[in-house]
């Protein structure tokens, strides 16, 4: 590089002549525009902005100019380089966008390919149905209570006002557990109902008692489309001062609305259970035909067998004798209790035609129910 020289005239320097600078600029801009790939652009960039490029060489000559000429030359070169860089950046942007677009197209896949790589699981609908009912009552302030499936006869029957010779006792086809001597006199049975949990709860805690008791129960029925010897109930019990039949009705109405939906009529049929008095069977208006199938052979309803009603369960005001047997003062406290059969509710709520499907453990039955119901 030459030293500053006062007599040195930029006009005399070939490389700094404006027409030369402009030509170099124009060539660079044209080269960038002509580049069709990022690689070509890179080569053009080296050629036109690299150390050996015309503008770089011209720039180097400025140092040797006399001071008065430096500014004009610097300005000339600076403008040219600015234009060149701008063109480069622009083209760079264009080519990158093109490349990106192309790559994204090339990377496209068939997102409709099935990807069932993670095995699916599911909980049994009877389990989740029980939980839904539990949750409804827990939200009201109830506790969930549990008891053993192999139960003392006293708790399954006697404490519930079903004495040894009570006719209702033979209605419940009971599995008896063998005594140590092999006889039937063990005093132990497979519970025929979840009601012994009521008795256990009352023996266990002081009123007020508000509990809901889900569980498996047993009767000596053969398995068929509508019966199973092992089935599930949810029992509810409220014992407090001033509990009445009206409280029972209100509570069941709330449950039905949460479980099935509103707008359906309930029918309260007087019935008989030894552990409640008065006792009732609760029928729910068929939510499929809303009763329109009754006496109407042209419109049969499978859900309610054209009866118009679906049996929901039994209930009533707790018989004071039960309170007495459990050590609760019937003059101070009263209560209500209800029991619902979960299989039947599931059949109705989810259009399950055959109870055997709930029992046999075929995964094709359970999978569609997922984690909640």
């Amino acid at each position: 590089m030459s030293a500053p020289n006062k007599s040195y005239d930029p006009v005399e320097v070939e490389a700094l002549k404006p027409e030369v600078v402009e030509q170099a600029r124009d060539e660079a801009v044209a080269a960038f525009a002509a580049a069709t790939t990022l690689d070509e652009l890179k080569q053009a960039k080296v050629a036109h902005t690299g150390d050996r490029s015309a503008l770089s060489l011209a720039n180097r000559e400025i140092g040797a100019l006399p001071p008065h000429a430096k500014a004009a030359a610097g300005k000339l070169i600076g403008q040219a380089r600015g234009a060149v860089n701008q063109a480069l950046a622009k083209r760079q942007g264009e080519l990158e966008a093109e490349r990106d677009a192309r790559v994204l197209v090339e990377e496209a896949v068939d997102v409709t390919l099935p990807y069932d790589r993670t095995p699916r699981g599911a909980r049994h609908p009877l389990t989740t149905l029980a939980e839904r009912i539990e949750d409804t009552f827990v939200a009201m302030g109830y506790q969930v209570a549990e008891g053993p499936e192999v139960e003392a006869e006293w708790l399954n029957f006697d404490a519930l006002n079903l004495g040894p010779d009570h006719p209702a006792r033979s209605m419940q086809d009971t599995f008896f557990v063998q005594a140590p001597d092999g006889s039937a006199d063990s005093g132990v049975v497979l519970r025929t109902q979840t009601s012994p949990v009521q008795a256990r709860t009352l023996l266990d805690r002081e009123p007020p008692v508000y509990v809901v008791c889900p569980g498996r129960v047993y009767r000596t029925d053969e398995l068929d489309a509508t019966h199973t010897p092992v089935f599930r109930q949810v029992e509810g019990l409220a014992v407090d001062e001033g509990i009445t039949f009206a409280d029972l009705k209100g509570t069941i109405e709330v449950l039905v609305e949460k479980l099935i939906g509103g707008g359906l009529e309930l029918r309260w049929r007087p019935s008989y259970f030894p552990f409640t008095e008065p006792s009732a069977e609760i029928d729910l208006q068929c939510f499929v035909c809303r009763g329109e199938s009754v006496g109407n052979p042209d419109r049969p309803c499978r859900t309610c067998s054209s009866e118009g009603w679906i049996e929901l369960g039994g209930c009533g005001v707790v018989n004071p004798r039960v309170l007495v047997a459990c050590g609760v003062d019937p003059n101070r406290y009263s209560g209500f209790a209800f029991g619902l059969g979960l299989e039947r509710i599931l059949m109705n709520r989810h259009n399950v035609a055959d109870m055997r499907d709930m029992v046999e453990g075929d995964v094709r039955f359970t999978l569609p129910f997922g984690m909640e119901i």
Binding site: Y142, V144, L155, F176, L203
Partner: protein, 833 residues
């Protein structure tokens, strides 16, 4: 109880247009469970008429006897000419009156009738059997009518073929509804109409010259009415109306005397028994059985009597099981088989419900009579019932009622119940008021006195009414449950689910989230299940709770492990073509206690003592809650992405960890040995930091797999949730997360193949000290390079300090300490060292 609507109308003047369904709906709301309303003769269409058989020509040459008949049907066929009919039955003769269905009619089925050619003749109609008319399926032969009916008379009306029958399932507290009288009373109340009580009869008072009866056991028999009728025509038949009512009520007509006793039982609810008086030897005695006595009952079965059985006896010994079934030796005789019965003793007695129930149960002999006595019969109906039977015998069979009236009655205390007049209000949660309460109680037959406190005497037909709440129920029922308001109780704030309940739910959610499908199996199993699992003879799981009356004699036990049921479900699924399976079950198992005992039966008039309650629980087996999984086929499926993974022992172990994590418990895994698992592929699952084994997991023993017909490499896990969570909830302290950089160092160790990886890792952890943040086994390798009987375990160790950036030297020092510990504990050799 089957209630023909036409019969019901005899006692209650129901509105004319009221259908069976309408009546059923009212009765249902009053508490009678009407199961069905049968429409008798709904699809029946005439002409169906009385015919007189004019001629019979027996046709021969056919496989069965065929008759070509001419029958006079009056003007019913429009011509008055004899009707030509071909008939396959032979139980009628010329001159008999029969039921003829003419062309154009439709019999139940529906079965349209038209004239047709058959057996070479024209058959313009049919001579009908009871079955063809839908009258009951017990008769195959032609109906032969009494001679008094005119040919051409409409037989639909005559045979009362069109009717509605309400089938009512009577609950045990409503024994009185096992009679027309009781159902009619409910219907009368439901419609607000008067009742024509069939038990309101004029009955002559008891006297001393009735049939001699001695009641030795007045507790077992507090009422015994006996009446006698003589000069009975043994050939008299039950009239059509009587037979039809019995048939519609579901009772088969047998003979006049028996039909009458059944009819009166249906009408007033009092079971009766008819003896052939000439076959009864001397006075009747009611007493308990003596040891060794036997009785042949009407059904021809000889029964060994128990000392508790209450008997009707004569001089010859037992002639009846009181309230259950009569004996064969004094049975009414069929005139077709010899001289028929001409003298009848009618028994109308009242027996102790418990005694009858026990006898019926003991002899497995539930009868129409025992069903009623068990539920309570009106003791005051006995006289009227006997009178009614006598009247019918006189009327129909031309008998003469003898003047003697036997009526032995033990004194009955008047049952009076004291009830606060507002008790029904307090039970229902509404205000009925005293007047309503009093009126309703009177409607069911009570006499009521008093004002704020009522003295109520229930009617004799309602033995179920024993305390004030029984009366409150009656009031509320009759006022209508639908009219009780609905309101919500003031429930105190609840505590939500218990920790155990939350854990049970989390376990289910976690397993389902991990791809397991829940199944629920019956808990019944037998020896075969244990054999298939290969349990040793002394395996504790073979000690089971056994049922007296199992559904299946091969499966008398309750499960002590979830595996048999779960593996059964696995096989069932595979059999149905579901091959890649991961299923789980949670539920209780039943483990007999070491000390077996019998559960006491404390009194129910007070709370049992704590000792009694403890004895109740002591008699029950332990019933811990378990969870189990079973896997077969591909755990991760193959697909377009590549090969999947077969289910293996490792998945079963991981399922246990999934369960433990859901329960907030850390598990340690040890090499284990337990049936039914593969002895080399069985993990023993232990709660970390304890020695408490909570279950096992791994691959099933190949023999078990074979015995159960499962795919090779089937894996399973079973964990006791109660044991797993026995330490209660563990509180997690939030970790201080260090922001300083991590230093990662790898280490490969060679150990004997038998050394468990878990031990090597534990040693590394303990040697590495506090700086170790995480350790991960990333490779297991066996082969020539590591030597025979050896394996190489490669770990990545992540070190980090809470307060500074670790230097390379610090990390290396920690790694070396870790290796040193592994070397000393497990004999490991640093690979490449």
């Amino acid at each position: 109880m089957r209630v023909p609507l036409s019969w019901l109308r005899e006692y209650v003047d129901l509105p004319a247009g009221e259908t069976g369904r309408d009546v059923a709906e009212r009765l249902v709301r009053a508490g009678l469970e009407v199961e069905t309303v049968e429409q008798l003769g709904a699809d029946l269409k005439g002409p169906l008429v009385v015919g007189e058989v004019l001629s019979i020509e027996e046709l021969s040459g056919f496989k069965k006897p065929i008759r070509h008949c001419f029958v006079n049907v009056g003007g019913a066929n429009g011509t008055g000419e004899p009707q030509e009919i071909v008939c396959g039955a032979t139980n009628f003769a010329v001159g008999d009156k029969v039921v003829v269905v003419l062309p154009g009619a439709v019999l139940p089925g529906p079965f349209p009738i038209s004239a047709r050619k058959t057996y070479g003749h024209t058959s313009a109609g049919m001579i009908c059997s009871a079955r063809e008319l839908g009258m009951g399926d017990d008769h195959n032969g032609i109906i032969v009518l009494p001679p008094e009916y005119e040919p051409g008379t409409d037989a639909i009306e005559l045979l009362q073929l069109v009717d509605e029958v309400l089938d009512i399932a009577v609950t045990p507290d409503r024994g009185y509804c096992l009679s027309m009288r009781g159902v009619a009373r409910e219907a009368a109340t439901a419609y607000g109409l008067p009742l024509a009580d069939p038990a309101l009869l004029d009955v002559p008072p008891a006297n001393s010259f009735g049939y001699l009866v001695k009641v030795d056991d007045p507790a077992g028999c507090d009422r015994f009415v006996a009446r006698t009728v003589v000069g009975v025509d043994p050939n008299a038949k039950s009239p059509i109306w009587l037979q039809r009512r019995l048939q519609k009520a579901g009772i088969r007509p047998i003979s006049l005397a028996v039909d009458i006793t059944n009819y009166v039982m249906l009408e007033v609810g009092q079971p009766l028994h008819a003896y052939d008086k000439q076959r009864v030897d001397g006075p009747i005695t009611v007493r308990r059985a003596a040891e060794g006595e036997t009785l042949t009952t009407l059904d021809g079965v000889e029964r060994k009597l128990a000392a508790e059985d209450l008997l009707i006896c004569d001089n010859s010994g037992p002639i009846g099981l009181a309230g259950v079934m009569g004996g064969a030796s004094t049975e009414i005789l069929d005139p077709a088989a010899g001289p028929g019965t001409t003298e009848v003793i009618i028994e109308a007695a009242h027996f102790d419900p418990v005694s009858v129930a026990r006898t019926a149960k003991r002899h497995k002999l539930p009868s129409e009579a025992s069903k009623r006595f068990e539920r309570g019969v009106d003791p005051e109906a006995a006289r009227a019932a006997a009178q009614r039977a006598v009247d019918l015998l006189v009327l129909i069979a031309g008998g003469t009622a003898e003047a003697g009236v036997t009526d032995i009655a033990a004194p009955h205390p008047v049952r009076t119940i004291t009830i606060a007049a507002d008790l029904p209000d307090r039970v229902a949660g509404t205000a009925y008021g005293r007047e309503t309460v009093t009126r309703r109680l009177q409607e069911i037959g009570c006499s009521v006195a008093g004002a704020d406190v009522l003295e109520v005497t229930p009617p004799t037909w309602r033995p179920d009414l024993t305390d004030p709440y029984d009366l409150a129920e009656e009031v509320i029922r009759l006022e209508g449950y639908d009219n009780v308001p609905a309101r919500m109780p003031n429930v105190p704030p609840g505590k939500g689910l218990t920790e155990a309940q939350r854990i049970h739910r989390r376990i289910g959610v976690a397993l389902a989230g991990a791809g397991y499908v829940e199944v629920n199996n019956y808990p019944f199993l037998g020896e075969a299940a244990f054999e298939a699992l290969g349990l040793e003879p002394d395996d504790r799981r073979r000690r089971t709770v056994k049922l007296v009356n199992p559904l299946n004699d091969e499966e008398p036990s309750l499960r002590t492990t979830l595996l048999p049921g779960l593996l059964g479900a696995l096989r069932r699924n595979i059999g149905r073509g579901n091959t890649d399976l991961a299923i789980y079950e949670t539920g209780t198992v039943f483990l007999p206690k070491d000390e077996l005992s019998v559960a006491p039966r404390p009194a129910v008039d007070h709370r049992p003592s704590d000792e009694e309650l403890a004895a109740l629980d002591a008699a029950l087996p332990d019933q811990p809650r378990r969870v189990a999984v079973a896997l077969a086929g591909e755990r991760l499926p193959s697909g377009w992405w590549g090969k999947g993974d077969q289910a293996s022992w490792a998945d079963a172990v991981e399922a246990a960890r999934t369960v433990a994590r859901a329960a907030g418990v850390e598990l340690t895994v040890r090499q284990g040995q337990r049936a039914p698992w593969h002895p080399g592929r069985c993990a023993e699952l232990v709660v970390a930091g304890t020695d408490r084994v909570v279950g096992h997991a791994g691959e099933l023993h190949p023999r078990v797999v074979k015995a159960l017909g499962l795919p090779a490499r089937t894996a399973a896990m079973e964990v006791d949730i109660d044991l797993l969570t026995a330490d209660g909830p563990q509180k997690v302290n939030g970790p201080a997360v260090s922001g300083f950089p991590v230093a990662t160092q790898d280490v490969a160790l060679i150990v004997d193949a038998a050394v468990p990886a878990a031990e090597v890792e534990a040693a590394l952890r303990s040697g590495a000290g506090e700086l170790l943040e995480a350790i991960r086994l990333f490779d297991v390798f066996t082969g020539e390079q590591v030597g025979e009987g050896k394996k190489s375990l490669a770990y990545a160790l992540r070190f980090r300090a809470a307060d500074r950036t670790l230097t390379a030297d610090e990390a290396t020092a920690a790694r070396e300490a870790a290796v040193a510990e592994a070397v000393s504990r497990t004999g490991a050799v640093l690979r490449g060292a």
